[in-house]
């Protein structure tokens, strides 16, 4: 809006000012180093992994043997559904729980509490610290013998004897979800708070004057304005959780009795503990297929938001 370029100079003299390349070629040249790197460390490995799913191959040995769909049927006839189910339980839990917490907190901080800036910073801590630290901390909290959770619950008379939270099939998944929720609610809070801050205060005041209670105002005023951010936050978190590895691996390693096994831990264990990379990549291929569906949904949603 500010350029007052003299009209006679409308087509800038590119030939004189740049190299011999056209703009398009120049732009592609700029992407070349990045693309080369992407191709080498992401696209090639991924495609090659998908290919490996059709072979019997040992991680430690050279050579492989084509086995068709054997690796795939191994999973589909075996643990695939159990792993899918557990992955979904983890993913849904670890997405919804922090979303509810983060949203509640964002709404609270958005009412203009004293020191909400400071609180926002403080609450970021669980998200900021490295994932393994989160896992260590909750491992210690959930510890069966000396853990503080057992201590507090026992003092309060809620349980009679120590619970091995991470060692029991019934509670291990719950513990993993709580841990992951603790690490992710802050970023959801920040995102939703940013969304809430775009809701004009006047809208609230007007609705309030017109006699709308806080629940009505939430659904009539707030929700329509943050729906966009909320759906993106939910979908992104869902995609990330769908392939989350660190927390589960450190806390339970997929156990006890495989009850917290997800795609990520199963692929990892099959490849690096079982050394069977044919089977690992076959499961990975199935996993990738599901993930691609999610990513496609995601791309469509961001696409609909329109381009600049």
């Amino acid at each position: 809006m500010s350029t007052a370029a003299p009209p006679q100079k409308a087509p800038p003299p590119r030939e004189r000012s740049g190299g011999r390349l056209s703009d398009g070629a120049f732009a592609l040249l700029l992407t070349a180093p990045g693309l080369a790197l992407f191709a080498a460390i992401i696209f090639y490995p991924l495609l090659s992994a998908l290919f490996t799913g059709f072979f019997r191959q040992d991680l430690r040995l050279p050579g492989r043997e084509f086995v068709g769909l054997d690796n795939f049927t191994h999973w589909l006839d075996g643990d695939f559904l159990a792993i899918l189910e557990q992955t979904l339980i983890f993913t849904v839990g670890a997405t919804l729980v922090p979303f509810v917490i983060g949203f509640a907190l964002a709404l609270a901080l958005n009412t203009g509490l004293k020191g909400s800036g400071f609180l926002r910073g403080l609450f970021l801590f669980p998200w900021v610290i490295p994932g393994v630290v989160v896992s260590f901390l909750w491992m210690w909290i959930f510890n069966a013998n000396y853990g503080v959770l057992n201590g507090v619950l026992m003092e309060a008379g809620i349980i009679d004897e120590s619970v091995a939270w991470l060692g029991r099939p019934g509670t291990a998944m719950l513990a993993v979800i709580v841990t992951k929720a603790w690490a992710s609610f802050p970023w959801m809070m920040v995102m939703l708070l940013a969304g809430l801050q775009t809701v004009p205060k006047e809208l609230h005041e007007a609705a309030s004057m017109d006699g709308a209670g806080s629940v009505r105002r939430f659904f009539a005023v707030t929700w329509p304005q943050v729906r966009g951010v909320a759906s993106i936050v939910l979908l992104l978190e869902f995609i990330w959780n769908f392939q989350h590895f660190d927390t589960i691996y450190v806390l339970t390693g997929g156990g006890p009795a495989g009850t917290t096994e997800t795609f990520a831990t199963a692929v990892y264990q099959t490849a690096f503990k079982g050394f069977d990379i044919g089977r690992a990549t076959a499961l990975g291929g199935l996993w990738m297929l599901l993930l691609l569906l999610l990513v496609a949904v995601y791309l469509r949603i961001t696409e609909r938001k329109g381009d600049a």
Binding site: S2, T3, P12, R14, S17, G18, G19, D23, G24, P33, G34, L35, F38, I41, P45, L46, S48, A49, L105, A108, L109, T111, L113, L124, V128, I129, P130, V132, V133, F136, W138, W140, N145, V148, G151, M191, T198, A206, M209, I232, L236, Q243, F245, Y249, F263, A264, V267, Y268, A271, F272, I277, A280, T281, G284, M288, L294, V295, Y298, K305, D307
Partner: protein, 306 residues
């Protein structure tokens, strides 16, 4: 993404509606409403605060406790004999210091490499329009979402066949798989804020396209480039799965290093592990203090089209 979303300030400005149309009753109701929402807000903060921050308290309390005091049940919620011994024990552990140096080296190189490569790519995406640009952008965006555990299987075999397992190079390259997409998107967003008029002006003044990028745009975007680098550093610093698998004790970084040091079959030394956890967290916390302004943008780089 952080850009100003212009929100239509609500319709025809209502000047002090309370004074005119709405009577006292409405005003009282609104005030009561406000009080009620205040109470709700504070209770939410307190409850979530307990969930969010008590574990942090426990992390600190344990890190400052003596090893013996943590082997009692029920645990003392307020530790009495505080000590810094766990931290000094860390400083004397040569293996941990080696992990830390590895972490610093690998995360720094990753950050620098990612920012350099992503600067060109992000600039291209931001300031040029050409065929295939959209598909490339989608590819970069989607590559952030590929499963790492699967990627790792081939990366392992490839690095292994080149004899690159257990090298900094392998770690840097594997970290780049997740830092590069992040940096490309962050930097594209930053270049989007550089006005096109500036580029035109530079071109009219006879600056080549390279020069425009290097001496005009890059200095302007420098704070954003540093922020992207810091984000990449943090992500690299926090990585667990790649360093766990592609390197052993010699070249491993802190996160997997701590697992192999402390999480064993024997009784874990919790106070020391908590102290070590705090030490690993410090650089990340410091980085985020600098990143406050870029927080929302960096968290979702690429998740929302700018």
């Amino acid at each position: 993404m952080t850009s100003t979303t212009p929100t239509p300030v609500s319709a025809v400005g209502r000047p002090q509606p309370s004074a005119t149309r709405a009577g006292r009753g409405t005003r009282r109701r609104v005030r009561k409403d406000l009080l009620r929402s205040r109470i709700a807000a504070w209770s939410a903060v307190v409850v979530i605060g307990a969930f969010g921050l008590l574990p942090v308290y426990w992390l600190l309390a344990t890190a400052l406790s003596t090893p013996e005091s943590t082997f009692q049940f029920p645990p003392k919620l307020i530790p009495t004999d505080l000590t810094l011994g766990n931290f000094t024990a860390l400083a004397e552990n040569d293996q941990l210091i080696k992990y830390m140096i590895n972490s610093l080296i690998v995360a720094s190189i990753t950050a620098v490499l990612s920012v350099i490569v992503a600067t060109y790519m992000g600039y291209s995406f931001s300031k040029f329009r050409y065929r295939g640009r959209r598909s490339l952008m989608h590819l970069v965006l989607a590559s952030q979402m590929f499963p790492q555990a699967l990627l790792l299987v081939t990366l392992y075999t490839v690095f292994s066949s080149f004899g690159m397992l257990n090298t900094y190079t392998a770690l840097v390259l594997s970290f780049t798989t997740f830092t590069m997409p992040l940096c490309v998107w962050m930097l594209k967003g930053i270049f989007d804020t550089v006005p096109d008029a500036l580029l035109e002006a530079a071109s009219i003044d006879g600056a080549s396209r390279w020069r425009t990028l290097h001496s005009i745009v890059a200095p302007l975007a420098a704070p954003g480039m540093i922020a992207a680098g810091l984000f990449a550093f943090v992500r690299g610093w926090n990585d667990f799965i790649f360093a766990l698998t592609l390197a052993d004790k010699e070249k491993q970084t802190l996160p997997p290093g701590l697992v192999s040091t402390y999480i064993g079959e024997f009784q874990t030394a919790w106070p020391q592990l908590m102290a070590a956890s705090l030490v690993v967290s410090v650089p990340v916390i410091v980085a985020f203090m600098f990143l406050q302004r870029y927080l929302v943008g960096g968290m979702t780089a690429g998740s929302v089209k700018s």
